[in-house]
Amino acid sequence: MRLEPRAERSLLLTLGFPLLALMAAGLFAAVLVMLAGANPFTVFALILKGSLGSRFALMETLTRATPLIFTGLAAAVAFRAKLWNIGGEAQFYAGAVMTVVFGTGLLPLPAPLLIPVLMFAAMLGGAAILYAPAFLKTRFGVDEVVTTLLFNFIFLLFVSLLLEGPLKDPMGLGWPQSKKVIADAQLPRLMKGLRLHWGFVLALTAAFVVWFIDRRTVLGYEMRAVGHNAKAAHFAGIPVARVIAKTALISGGLAALGGFSEVAGLKGNLTLDLSPGFGYTGIVVAMLALLNPLGVIAAAVFVAAVFVGADAMSRSAGVPSYIAHVMVAASLLTMVTAVMFTRHRLRWR
């Protein structure tokens, strides 16, 4: 048994294998559902209904997808340049911290001014957090996987410290939570009575901007060149260290925008459970999207749908909503396998 590279990749393969991959992941989840004593068809129907089956469900899914688009883009941008940013979680919280620092009354500006200022501040916070590991990587060769990953824990403890101290809401009945952002700092809902907010539009815009940077700008070209072959990029005269630094600023800024959008658009304040691992799930989203910025939108909606649908399903079918984690993880594995098969063919003997 061996793998041989395929000479050409047909469209059928490129689309067919990922589809097969999702089906395989579903099959795997079905086995677990049966072990839990439920009928997989009912369970999948419930997940589908709970995530996409009604206007309300669909809006809930898109609301959940919003932060994932941001963190997914953050991972995709960095990974394309082979900057392994595992610190999306810290950068996400950095954006949220900046939003509550400046958005809870410190800057009494009208909304059209305050919101851009808060976005900028949030991006600055996230960018700064990833800039340090990128500098250590290019200057001293420190592995950014280790630094960004470990910094997540440090920063979460720092947020906890802030919420017990300077940022603690005096009216919060002792809970570790910040004050609510002022009305001018809030992102409006897209429609009355919905939870879906302008953060979603912002996320879609960000995806298109990233796509534009990648395809049309000098910076995008440099980032791809560095990602594919840093040595050749250096030889050709591309300033590799500077490109990695710029990548870090963009990637950190994108993850931080997710934190801003979640606080200013949905939650209103900062708590320690603002993110149920959006930073990490963003990596999964980016990988499922094969690092394509527009693909990130689809991947984020898919992952969000699985989580939202599984929540709804577990309420009525009694299968634990953890099945969502299994489904997402399994689809990642099968997707990676599928990508390999679009590029290689399996030969027996």
Partner: protein
């Protein structure tokens, strides 16, 4: 079995009608050949002619679509390297497969012992390695760590590895690519000892002189088909060349030309990277000349090239291009000063394999018009430049958007030539510009270097191929342990003399002088 007698020796290996297709490409088309006991058989062909594919099938890395292989009359199970080794076939790859951090002895026994065995019989292994080394003249210290060995010594370890596995048929894939002429001669002597002991050798090469020097019989492959089988005694260099390429080959014609003003100067350049040094190197390159730098690989030519390419900052000394001293040489600075750079390693430095032809053609000048304005890339201009480079430098490709890694070595080099020469550089740094290329591509690269010389560029040619050096360069300097000798006029220099200088024996005068 006794060693070969004067009677007709029997075939130990027979390949019959081996066919291998990759999609529409026929890499091997019904190739039959046989190898007799105690002979050295050459396998001659350009890159891409199918030599490596054929040997990969023999060694079980690939599966033939048709045909069969017999060793000593018994069919060899296809697709199994284990079966090939068990049948006594040993392979010495072009790129060594040694663990640098382990001693020689460990490298030799690595993989030859069962995995589930707690003790390793090192004493017995050492004795066997010692005996093999003595029998065949392959002296190497079994306790030396591989990282500290010269390339020639590493090759000996690779050969010992195959012999240790009781190989009776040894396949050597382009074994002289990394050796000095003297080392090659010693390798050929070793091969003669093998056949005297009744072993058989398949010698793969695209260098005619080596085939003629080492082999008794030669098979010539061209685009996947076997075009000829010749006894070396009854053929000539010209005939083999024509068989291999399919047409008569032009010899590079070097028109005499007076050298002009100095275009590149190095003063007292010292640099180091790891254990490699460049010590107080000085040189002057003039317009309209080719200055050759000969040397065994690892003596500092990579550092010299990197300094001129702008990828290595020298510790001392100055680089002067066209009269202007360059304070901090960077790749971009050197490019804008009119230095065209053909790097040693096309794959890791010259091109970005996963990016398209267009993206690679623009790589050195992407952030200036016409390729980009105000941070935005003008893909139309980039494509136009790529189209021009592909057409002008005869790059064979299936469109400008495919990844560069799908191109053959020769076409990659043509693409780099297109990128470099499009700007009519004052200085051309050509570092091993023909390494690993087939004869046709080599001739093309030579033609282009001579064209640049005729146009008035100064060309610094760094090469380990002495024939190339002697046929192209106006003056030749030798680099040894980081010192660059004063250049000598080509007229009157011989390969033998150069070889001695490359080994560190200066020929008259002070070799270390700047």
């Amino acid at each position: 079995m006794t060693a070969s007698t004067t009677a007709q020796p029997e075939s130990v290996l027979r390949l019959s009608r081996i066919t291998k297709r990759f999609g529409a490409l026929i890499a091997n088309d019904a190739i039959s050949l046989d190898v007799k006991e105690g002979e050295i058989v050459g396998l001659l062909g350009e890159n891409g002619a199918g030599k490596t594919t054929l040997m990969s099938i023999l060694f079980g890395h690939y599966l033939a679509d048709e045909g069969e292989i017999t060793v000593r009359g018994e069919a060899l199970p296809p697709g199994s390297p284990h079966a090939a080794i068990a049948a006594g076939i040993g392979m010495v790859h072009q790129h060594f497969t040694l663990a640098d951090n382990l001693p020689v002895l460990d490298n030799i026994i690595l993989g030859a012992e069962p995995l589930w065995q707690l003790t390793s019989a090192r004493g017995a292994a050492r004795a066997r390695v010692h005996r093999l080394a003595q029998d065949f003249g392959l002296e190497v210290d079994p306790d030396a760590v591989v990282a500290g060995l010269t390339v020639g010594e590493r090759q000996r370890v690779e050969i010992l590895k195959a012999l240790y596995r009781e190989a009776r048929i040894l396949i050597l894939d382009e074994p002289t690519a990394v050796l000095t002429p003297q080392e090659s001669a010693s390798l050929f002597a070793t091969l003669k000892r093998f056949v005297a002991h009744g072993l058989s050798v398949i010698f793969i090469s695209h260098k005619l002189s080596e085939i003629l020097a080492a082999c008794e019989r030669v098979y010539v492959l061209r685009s996947g088909t076997l075009v000829a089988e010749r006894a070396v005694a009854g053929t000539s260099r010209a005939e083999l060349a024509e068989l291999m390429v399919g047409r008569p080959l032009p010899q590079p014609k070097v028109e005499p030309r007076a050298a002009g003003e100095v275009v590149l100067e190095l003063h007292d350049i010292s640099a180091n990277r790891g254990a490699h040094w460049l010590r107080n190197v000085g040189l002057e390159l003039r317009a309209g000349e080719i200055l050759g730098v000969a040397g065994v690989s690892g003596n500092g030519q990579t550092l010299l090239a990197d300094v001129i390419s702008g990828t290595l900052l020298p510790a001392t000394g100055t680089v002067v291009v066209a009269g202007a001293a360059i304070a901090q040489p960077t790749p971009r600075r050197m490019v804008t000063m009119g230095v065209g750079r053909i790097p040693e390693d096309r794959h890791s430095e010259g091109l970005i394999g996963d990016m398209s032809i267009t993206e690679n053609v623009m790589a050195e000048t992407y952030d200036a018009p016409p390729f980009s304005r105000r941070g935005l890339i003008d893909w139309r201009a980039a494509r136009a430049a790529a189209e021009q480079a592909v057409a002008a430098y005869q790059v064979k490709c299936q469109g400008l958007d495919g990844p560069v890694r799908l191109l053959s070595g020769g076409n990659m080099q043509k693409l780099i030539l297109g990128r470099v020469m499009a700007r009519s550089p004052r200085v051309v740094l050509a570092n091993q510009p023909t390494r690993g290329l087939d004869v046709g591509a080599v001739a093309y690269v030579h033609e282009q270097l001579l064209a640049a010389r005729a146009r008035g560029a100064g060309i610094l040619l760094i090469s380990e191929d002495l024939e190339e050096m002697l046929s192209l360069a106006d003056r030749i300097a030798v680099i040894h342990r980081g010192h660059l000798s004063a250049p000598l006029a080509r007229a009157g220099l011989s390969i033998g003399e150069l070889g001695l200088m490359m080994a560190g024996h200066g020929s008259g005068g002070d070799v270390h002088a700047a």
